[in-house]
């Protein structure tokens, strides 16, 4: 085997510029795939890390032996949410909460560094005055979901209003009534679970095109080698030797590529960490997936590339003449269409109730089914186009599509699969503004028992006047909340915008214990934030998909030129202008791209439809879709155009020579 490897190295080195360029392209393709694969995996790890750091604020009640009382609420300053954690020790040995070196003493205030900065930045009556106690220290990173999170930890005596008063029910905001706990283990929040599900969906949407792209890169090695390997078979190399040689070459190239990709990803972490989700960027450590995962990727990518190369070689191994003598390729099996239709038939039975695992599996299957049906459709398009083509460029393109539909599909598969993603998410990306209730933004509300409404309104008036905030205070909207009749005290702040509202919030902060005044829009903040994040996620997923698609198109276009340099040279020799060759090449890509891209978008819309009724349609998503389609088409044309100099160089001397 070592002799074979040596022969392989000699053949690779002797392959000249074309051979080295081909290997280089494979390496680049694998590097890009590895970088994006690491990103897709790391996103999940990162959300898990965030969720783990958030659990301490979602207390699990202790049945007995409680050592701490914990309450959590959310308030706002400068339009940003602040998580306020109120703590009281029931026992002198109460455990220190995450991010703090010890348990906070009564009256102590611990702020996250971002909150401390904001408090210093804003006038005291907008923020700092809300936390009048002794500033004891900074809440450490262990307690924060992201570096910019605004968190305050306040120490109290047991029995203090902040750790006894019930928090008003607020499903959209982090709000936990005083809870006796043993430690800060806590449980994962519902929101964190939602984020992790979304991250998993995003990962599936990104990973499938990446795998397809990786496979294309592997076949690229084989495509360049098939003639040489067929020759080796003709002189008696065993199938094992032929497979061994090619797989070894592909694996070595892929190993180098995945190492480069890992370095690229590591270098990109600081940039990726700036992508804001849930109100802030990321700790670099969150985006580092850890040595075991990196090692697994470094092992798996070359393995997959090797496997893909071995599959690609099947034809050569089965028949050495299959490559040496070109003949009409057998038609692709109709089973591909059946697989696609079957996958689509499952979709109408999907609903959010069937479970995330099932939904992800179905999305993944439809994705793979598109990839399976793609070459079949390309061949069909080729046959139709060949029948109707009037001009040489169209005819050449059509015959090429019929001759090698898999290769033509590889060029456009990335964009087509991205079309699926774009179609899918365009329906499932609701407009955040649709979730903002149509209420004025200058109302601060407090919910109190109906009997206390008048007194609370009076006190509010006094406090606001004292703070110099112009406001009209009324008690309104008496209603039943459970068994209690409650009323809403509303302070309508006039003039002064956000600043006056913040000062109003500060003035009314402890008026009702455990209940900072809420503006109407506060209640929507979490929904708006979540949907803004979905939109950010959509952009990230589409950006990754397009990067894969355009890189794939460029690499495939270049490799196609290298593979077909003899054909192109002969066409040039027969007097075919370079423009006709270029036009034929473009048609080869654009004809399947238009049909398959369109088909994939429709499939994406179809698969998303069962879920779209749950979150509502978003016309903005269609704009995103239109932008995606335009960018994708432009990207593929651009990638093709970039390879024109290569086409020119390989056809510069069109004199035929035995390859």
């Amino acid at each position: 085997m070592s002799a074979l490897l040596r022969l392989n190295v000699r053949l690779l080195r002797g392959g000249g510029r074309g051979g080295l360029l081909g290997s280089g392209l494979t390496l680049v393709a694998v590097a890009v795939a590895t970088t994006l694969l690491l990103f897709s995996v790391s996103v999940n790890v990162a959300f898990a890390d965030r969720a783990a750091r958030e659990t301490w604020r979602n207390p699990a009640p202790a049945e007995s032996g409680a050592r701490v009382i914990q309450a959590v609420g959310t308030e706002f300053a400068g339009g940003k949410p602040i998580v306020v954690v109120d703590l009281a020790a029931l026992d002198p040995g109460a455990p220190a909460p995450p991010g703090l070196p010890r348990f906070p003493r009564p009256g102590e205030v611990w702020l996250s560094s971002a909150l401390a900065e904001l408090a210093a930045e804003l006038p005291a009556d907008r923020l700092a005055a809300r936390f009048p106690g002794e500033r004891a220290g900074t809440v450490g990173d262990d307690a924060l979901i992201h570096p910019d999170e605004l968190v305050a930890v306040l120490g109290h005596r047991p029995g203090a209003p902040a750790v006894t008063a019930e928090r008003p029910p607020g499903p959209d905001l982090t709000s936990v009534s005083p809870t006796p706990i043993k430690d800060f283990a806590g449980t994962e929040t519902r929101l964190a679970v939602n984020y992790r599900i979304l991250a998993a969906v995003a990962a599936v949407l990104m990973i499938v095109p990446l795998l397809v792209f990786g496979g294309a890169a592997a076949r690229l090695t084989v495509a360049r080698r098939d003639a040489r390997l067929a020759a080796l078979r003709l002189v008696g190399a065993t199938p094992g030797q032929v497979v061994g040689m090619t797989v070894a070459e592909a694996v070595v190239t892929a190993l180098a590529g995945s190492a480069v990709g890992t370095v690229l990803y590591t270098v990109a972490i600081p940039v990726l960490a700036r992508i804001e989700i849930a109100g802030g960027g990321w700790y670099a450590a969150d985006l580092w997936p850890g040595i075991p995962i990196v090692a697994a990727v470094l092992f798996a990518v070359p393995l997959l590339v090797g496997l893909s190369a071995a599959i690609g070689l099947r034809q050569v191994v089965v028949s050495p003449l299959g490559v040496a003598r070109r003949h009409t390729p057998p038609a692709l099996r109709v089973i591909r269409v059946l697989a696609f239709v079957t996958a689509l038939l499952v979709v109408p039975f999907m609903s959010p109730e069937v479970g995330v695992g099932v939904i992800l599996t179905v999305i993944g299957l439809v994705f793979l089914a598109i990839n399976l049906v793609g070459p079949w459709v390309v061949a069909l398009i080729g046959r139709i186009t060949a029948a109707v083509a009037r001009r040489p460029a169209g005819l050449l393109a059509a015959r090429r599509l019929v001759d090698d539909p898999r290769s033509a599909w590889r060029t456009v598969s990335g964009v087509a699969l991205t079309g699926f993603v774009a179609g899918f998410v365009s329906l499932l990306s609701p407009d955040p503004s649709a979730f903002t209730r149509d209420t004025p933004g200058d109302r601060l509300e407090l919910t109190v028992p109906a009997a206390q409404a008048a007194g609370t309104a009076d006190a509010a008036r006094r406090r606001l006047a004292q703070a110099g905030v112009r406001a009209t205070v009324t008690a309104e909207d008496t209603r039943l909340q459970g068994a209690d009749r409650v009323a809403t005290v509303v302070a309508t702040v006039s003039g002064g915008g956000d600043e006056a509202l913040d000062r109003g919030r500060t003035a009314l902060r402890d008026l009702v214990p455990g209940q900072p005044p809420q503006a109407s829009r506060d209640r929507d903040a979490q929904a708006v934030s979540l949907f803004t994040d979905i939109r950010t996620g959509t952009v990230v997923v589409l950006a990754v998909s397009f990067l894969v698609a355009v890189a794939g198109a460029g690499i495939t276009a270049a490799s196609t030129i290298l593979d077909r340099r003899r054909t192109y040279a002969l066409l040039r020799l027969a007097g075919t202008p370079l423009e006709v060759l270029d036009r034929a090449r473009r048609s080869e890509t654009m004809i399947p791209l238009t049909i398959m891209g369109g088909g994939a978008i429709l499939t994406g819309l179809f698969v998303a439809a069962p879920f779209a009724t749950q979150v509502g349609l978003n016309p903005g998503g269609l704009v995103t879709l239109a932008i995606c389609v335009s960018l994708g088409v432009a990207g593929v044309i651009g990638a093709g155009a970039l390879t024109r100099p290569l086409l020119k160089s390989v056809t510069e001397n069109p004199a035929p020579r035995p390859d």
């Binding site: 040489p392 001759d403 027969a574 007097g575 370079l578």
Partner: protein
Amino acid sequence: MIGRMSEDVLSGIGLVKRFGETVALGGVGLQVARGEAVAIMGPSGSGKSTLLHCLAGITRPDAGRVHLLGQRIDTIGERRRSELRRTRFGFVFQFGQLLPELPAEENVALPLMLGGMPRTKAVGRARDWFGPLGLTGKERRRPGELSGGEAQRVAIARALVTEPAVVFADEPTGALDQATGHTVMGLLVDSTRKGGASLVVVTHDPEVARWCDRVVEVRDGLLRGAAGAEAGR
């Protein structure tokens, strides 16, 4: 045999071509008359293929001139030379000149389509060549499904379908057995003559050269005098 006294269709004068330090052509002149078949002979590496490439506008000579029907063609741009190759020249090479994806008839029709002829008409005209070349029934076959001799005959049809002024052939029988080579050469010379075109054949095989009106020999990049022409069999 066609006399040298006829009008020259193609002429190369003082052609020089270097590849780095190597002198492939050291000042070669060659005239080809209308309807004449000329064989260029010489051992491997002598410069005979380079001479053909220079005459056919595939390669631009470093010095010297090439005239086609009195017009200089070595100085014209690549676009015009492409057009010239498509309309005025035909090519037959040793192998690999047919596009593997296209059926035989479309391979033959391609130069006509490139010249702007509608596909149906081009394919129709291409088919006219299949009978005379003994290819009836092979119209829809792809090159991989043809024998070596059949593929060469399709190449001959493609070279002649545009009714060129000159057909260039580089070792046209090099990949064929003797009997098939004999048939192919006969068809090449006969068809070229019938179409009124001149033929320039590069070969190292004296059997092939004997089909031509005139034989010239290239050695070390120089023409070693014209051998006596021998009529084709």
